[in-house]
Assembly symmetry: C2
Homo-oligomer: 337 residues x 2
């Protein structure tokens, strides 16, 4: 099967770019120094490829992701880096599951659900989840008193990922991690987990980095100056073309709309064209060179995570051939909740 | 089962609001005057409820939607109001399928795919698909010469749906429909299809309106002054609460993130709270009255169509009980392409 045989819109993964990203990250953060975050790709076959470059533990954002990873035989060390109030599905899994807790209520849910290991989630500056650093030790004590193993702390400096000024990103990362290390001194345990694609090279304080977007990338992270290659595009078909008329420039429409793209970071990029707007099933854009109805285009999403979750599968391709062979197709099998 | 038993995030549909919306629209546009658009809800059970108030024909935006409607036995008169370059899946269906065409290429695809009926899609002012009005007649001639039945024209004044000034919305709708009627004079056929939720009451020129959002509604259409009730919310669980500290106000986090919400119209609304921001699986907001971890919240999406497509099912509830019974669960079975 070739790309021209695919129904559009369809996710394409440049396997050489993907493998380069996985190799570069594994060189920077080998083995357990990286706990890849599956939320960015939601694909167990891609996670399996991450094990192939040396990472055995994974980060998840949802119970469904943990379940799917366990079912795929990738349950050696799964961290659900998120709070849940119903942990029963986690406790029932045949996998090593560590759950984030940041309150008495989430700790009680972990116990009630049969989870045996937890991390204390610490607020390091992003106004989201996480307990205040000076209260982390007490929560760890309660967890141990309840019979749980406390593996350490986690804290996510998510508000710094896209900060354009790298020196400022580094300075603030150090400040956030100071809070996390203070909490860790009280909590104990072998893990200090945090960071992401935006700070993977700057965050030298954690024992493991939770990066996920580096594998497939998007325009927002590329704009943040990261060295990883754009591996993910959304293949579309040009379904309509309108020629210039008087002062109105011409435009083309591809079948890659906002139901095929994560839109929270704005419009996607079409190389060699200016994007006008997205509708549910349409992308209207002005191409630099005329396109014809039936032509294929590759659209670069602004945000990888919510783009991938809209698709049932991703197709692996290689090279610059305009109509390459489809080397493999992976199910995006960790969607939903 | 009660709402407190549901895994979150989860779509909730207020069945009384839904039924009121369906009844109000059916009173305004009875029977064939409305061709409900399924792209807004992607749910054959909801479409079946629309047949219950008298609408037999439906509008679809994707081949998958047409297939799913046909498979559900709702294929009496399905319009794919969109261009496709591969119509083979449509031609193979046991249903009445009418396909939009706006070019020689899409007409050729209809013929090659075994489609027997078409509408000529006319550009009425929105820079998207659609042939220029003065070329529509010639395309209809070619379609008839190729053995197809031409049922008429369609044109979508999508750029007017959210226009705040209703008088201006009406004036521009008339202008757009003037173009569509001019094309119809050349094309012929019994159908003049167009309009949407934003212009359903203003567009008196079409023979049928393609509205979809009216059934479930969202904050954007409510802001546009439409009379329909908000029937759709996303149920979430409060997973973390941070108390005020000094000058920093307190906040809560629910598990309704941007992977559970269409974000192209911006942040959702949480009644009784100020929304700060959405992350992949989190919504951070400042509630007017304190919330506790484990509390449930109902989040109102800004854009219904891309919200629904992120969920596998929707749950029907009734009334103001904080923990109502789940009356029924419908699969969102028209997702994908």
């Amino acid at each position: 099967m070739r790309v021209s045989d695919l129904t559009t819109p369809a996710l394409l993964v440049d396997v050489d770019a993907l493998d380069a990203n996985l190799a570069d990250m594994a060189a920077a953060l080998p083995g357990p120094r990286l706990r890849p975050h599956v939320k960015a790709h939601k694909t167990t076959e891609l996670a399996r490829r991450q094990t192939g470059v040396g990472h055995a533990g994974f980060t998840c954002a949802t119970v469904r992701e943990v379940e799917g990873m366990a079912a795929a035989g990738l349950g050696e060390d799964l961290l659900l880096a998120n709070e849940v109030l119903d942990a029963r599905r986690l406790g029932a899994l045949d996998a090593r599951v560590t759950l984030a807790v940041d309150s008495e209520e989430t700790l009680a849910a972990a116990v009630a659900g049969g989870v045996r290991e937890v991390l204390v989630d610490v607020n390091v500056g992003l106004p989201r989840c996480g307990i205040a650093p000076d209260r982390a030790g007490r929560l760890a004590d309660r967890a141990r008193a309840a019979g749980l193993t406390v593996r350490g702390v986690m804290g996510y400096e998510g508000h710094l990922m896209m900060l354009g000024d790298v020196a400022e990103r580094a300075r603030l990362t150090e400040e956030c991690m100071g809070r996390l290390l203070a909490a860790h001194a009280d909590v104990g345990g072998e893990l200090v987990s945090g960071g992401g694609t935006g700070t993977y090279a700057l965050n030298t304080w954690v024992t493991e980095v939770q990066a996920g977007s580096y594998a497939l990338m998007d325009t927002a992270y590329t704009a943040a100056g990261l060295p990883f290659r754009q591996a993910l595009t959304v293949l579309g078909t040009v379904i309509s073309v309108t020629a210039p008329a008087g002062e109105v420039p011409g435009w083309a429409v591809a079948d890659v709309g906002l139901k095929a793209l994560g839109m929270d970071h704005g419009n996607p990029v079409v190389p060699g064209a200016q994007v006008w707007f997205c509708s549910d099933e349409h992308l209207t854009f002005a191409p630099d060179a005329p396109l014809r109805v039936g032509d294929r285009v590759r659209v670069v999403p602004a945000h990888v995570d919510p783009t991938v979750t809209l698709h049932e599968r991703m197709h692996l391709v290689r090279g610059d051939d305009p109509d390459p062979e489809v080397l493999d197709t992976w199910a995006v099998d960790l969607r939903g909740w």
